[in-house]
């Protein structure tokens, strides 16, 4: 239901009801007043006739009889003489068209004469009885005429005010309609802010809210777009390398003395395949980590064993890293509520970053510290250039890479962060006091023991 219709219904109905009540009240009032006035007229006429009768001798002649004056007003009158003890009455005179009023009781009364209802008044003065009467249906007609005369303008005014209300509400709602039209015209990627200046003060909070909502939606769209864009870039680049190298190999295979070029090209294609594979693996892992949480795993991993496994893996990735990795931990087994594969993967990513971004001659330390009964912290410390504050904040974003020619596809820290979040831990990146960089992965200790 439109606001316009709703407002019209509420206001229109209240108005109609209120004015109808007033009208009914007024009508009842007027009817009462009219009855009283007409009754008073009956009485007054009766008295006047009585006065006239007492002054003039009751002559049976017609003509200028005072009763005719009364008859002109639509009243019936009957003058009769009461005689002796016998309640016989002799009608002296009566107006033309007057019904027999002999039966009417003294005072006011309502009688049916000749099938018509009459209002009667009977006055007794000495032995003269004067009865006046008027027809009830004449009274009703009069009342109807009055009601009509007052009611028609009233009804017209009511309809008019409803119409005015309709247009007025329409005009009043125009800013809303304007805003609706603006929103309807808007394309999803439109980033022009809504015009807030011409909105009335009641609508301004709404405009504001819509504005914020649009901003958030736009932010999400932009992020999604950037993500697909980045993912496309990361997948297409190794694919390009593979394709180009294979094409080079194909051309070289047709040329004499191009065996070396061909071998290089095939080697390049191989490298591309490896890169594509690792990027795909990481993307899939991230997608799985993003997906709905699997059953809370009862799997329990020993921190030291996972760390040693991660160090071993990192060393095999970085052929020359043997001896660069230093492991520091107390010799107490700490159980963690996280699948071993994920913890190893997270630690390996951290070690991989540290090895890659710090000088090749300095050691990288993996330290396990028990912070309190419930938490354990893995620290990976290197002596590389570190990151700025802003970069630390950005580093966990997907596909983020240091701008100066960094290797990798920019998913490592995102993966670590996702793993940590999923299993109740957190990842903290910070520069070390003197120099170098520290990545701290805090994980909750398995509660069962």
């Amino acid at each position: 239901m439109s606001i316009r219709l709703r407002l019209l219904a509420i206001i229109g109905m209240s108005l109609t009801m209120l004015w109808s009540l007033v009208a009914i009240w007024m009508f009842l009032d007027v009817r009462n007043e009219l009855r009283t006035a007409l009754d008073d007229r009956l009485v007054a006429s009766a008295r006047m006739v009585a006065g006239l009768v007492s002054q003039l001798p009751p002559v049976g002649g017609k003509g200028d009889s005072p009763l005719n004056v009364i008859a002109r007003d639509g009243l019936a009158c009957e003058v009769s003489l009461l005689r002796g003890e016998v309640m016989a009455q002799t009608i002296i005179t009566r107006t033309a068209g007057s019904p027999g009023l002999a039966d009417a009781a003294p005072g006011y009364g309502t009688h049916v004469f000749g099938g018509k209802q009459w209002r009667t008044y009977v006055l007794k003065q000495g032995d003269i009885r004067i009865a006046t009467a008027d027809r009830i249906d004449v009274r009703e007609t009069l009342l109807r005429d009055i009601a009509l005369a007052a009611g028609v303008p009233f009804a017209v005014a009511l309809i008019g005010s409803l119409l005015l209300l309709w247009f007025g509400i329409g005009r009043g709602l125009a800013p809303l309609e304007r805003m609706r039209a603006t929103l309807a015209r808007r394309r999803p990627d439109d980033d022009v802010p809504l015009p807030a200046s011409d909105a009335p003060s009641e609508l301004r909070p709404l405009v504001h809210t819509i504005h914020h909502l649009l901003e958030r939606v736009q932010g999400t769209i932009a992020r999604e777009r950037r993500f697909t864009d980045d993912a496309a870039h990361e997948l297409r680049t190794p694919l390009t390398a593979i394709k180009t190298h294979l094409q080079v190999a194909r051309i070289a295979s047709t040329r004499p003395q191009a065996a070396e070029v061909m071998a290089q090209a095939l080697g390049g294609a191989d490298q591309g395949v490896l890169r594509l594979q690792s990027t795909l693996d990481q993307l899939l892992l991230l997608a799985r980590l993003d997906g709905p949480a699997e059953q809370a795993s009862a799997e329990c991993t020993e921190a030291g064993a996972a760390a040693r496994q991660a160090i071993e893996d990192a060393q095999s990735d970085h052929g020359g890293a043997v001896g660069r990795l230093v492991f520091e931990a107390e010799d107490v087994p700490i159980p963690l509520a996280i699948p071993a594969a994920l913890l190893v993967s997270a630690l390996r990513n951290l070690l991989d970053n540290a090895l890659r971004y710090s000088p090749a001659t300095v050691p990288v330390v993996l330290r396990i510290e028990r912070i309190d009964a419930g938490r354990v912290c893995f620290s990976v410390l290197d002596e590389g250039p570190g990151l700025t504050e802003a970069e630390c904040a950005q580093a966990v974003q997907r596909f983020w890479r240091r701008s100066n020619g960094a290797q990798g596809c920019g998913l490592g820290l995102s993966i670590v962060n996702a793993i940590a979040k999923r299993h109740g831990g957190e990842l903290l990146l910070r520069n070390r006091a003197q120099h170098g960089f520290e990545a701290r992965l805090g994980m909750p200790v398995h509660a069962a023991r």
């Binding site: 190794p238 390398a241 094409q247 051309i251 090209a265 701008s403 020619g405």
Partner: protein, 225 residues
């Protein structure tokens, strides 16, 4: 054709370089925008292949800066980002052509030839010069209708001369077109190739402008043979 390849991914770059060289082009590869800047300042290139995702500067910004400074070097943009708006932005920034990764090596070469042809105002792939006929994309050379066998360097030399028919090219420029940034080139290497070219196509094909360099001569080989 001397190509400047600006591409930060070494694996992709090595593939493109090998592929273009197999197609008889002279290629120099740089990884960053700043290196591209200095390469452009010290050497002459016929065409540039630009990857947009450079580590030190966005390729688009580099391109816009070049165009603002009036560099008219034809640029083919390579990118892995396929949104239409990227393409439009690239072309607006002054790119002459656009190729999406992963691309076909043959297509890249064909586009480079087409771009160069357009820039030098030719509409056909074949360059006719007197009795000489040179097919730019394949490097096929016909002299009075008969095919002539040329070495890779000789072909590059002939291509450079035919591409700038009225211009005098210094021996440094020719050296760039033939060898790019290769360091260990004999000082008289260009002369040797010119000598060979004259032997195969007639002495008039290359004209020596004393003290300045060389120019494409009238291909009067017919009379000489």
């Amino acid at each position: 054709m001397h190509v400047l390849l600006i591409e930060d991914d070494l694996l992709v770059a090595s593939g493109i370089v090998a592929g273009l060289r197999l197609h008889g082009l002279t290629v120099d590869h740089v990884e960053t925008a700043s290196l591209a800047q200095s390469a452009l300042a010290t050497s002459t290139f016929d065409i540039c292949v630009l990857d947009l995702g450079l580590p030190d500067e966005d390729g688009m910004a580099l391109l816009a800066r070049w165009r603002a400074r009036g560099h008219s070097l034809p640029v083919l943009v390579l990118t892995a980002r396929d949104a239409v708006e990227h393409r439009i932005k690239g072309l607006q920034a002054g790119a002459d052509d656009y190729l999406l990764k992963p691309f076909d090596l043959d297509e890249l070469v064909a586009r480079l030839h087409a771009l160069l042809r357009r820039v030098s105002g030719r509409s056909a792939d074949r360059i006719e010069h007197g009795a000489l006929s040179f097919t730019a994309s394949t490097g096929e050379v016909l002299l009075s209708g008969a095919p002539v066998e040329l070495s890779r360097r000789e072909r590059a030399l002939l291509r450079a001369l035919l591409q700038h028919p009225k211009q005098i090219l210094s021996s440094e420029q020719l050296r760039d077109s033939l060898y790019g940034f290769e360091q260990d080139v004999e000082s008289n290497a260009v002369n040797v190739h010119i000598h060979h070219l004259r032997r195969k196509l007639g002495a008039g094909v290359v004209e020596t402008v004393r003290g300045l360099g060389y120019r494409l001569g009238d291909a009067c080989a017919e009379q000489q043979r």
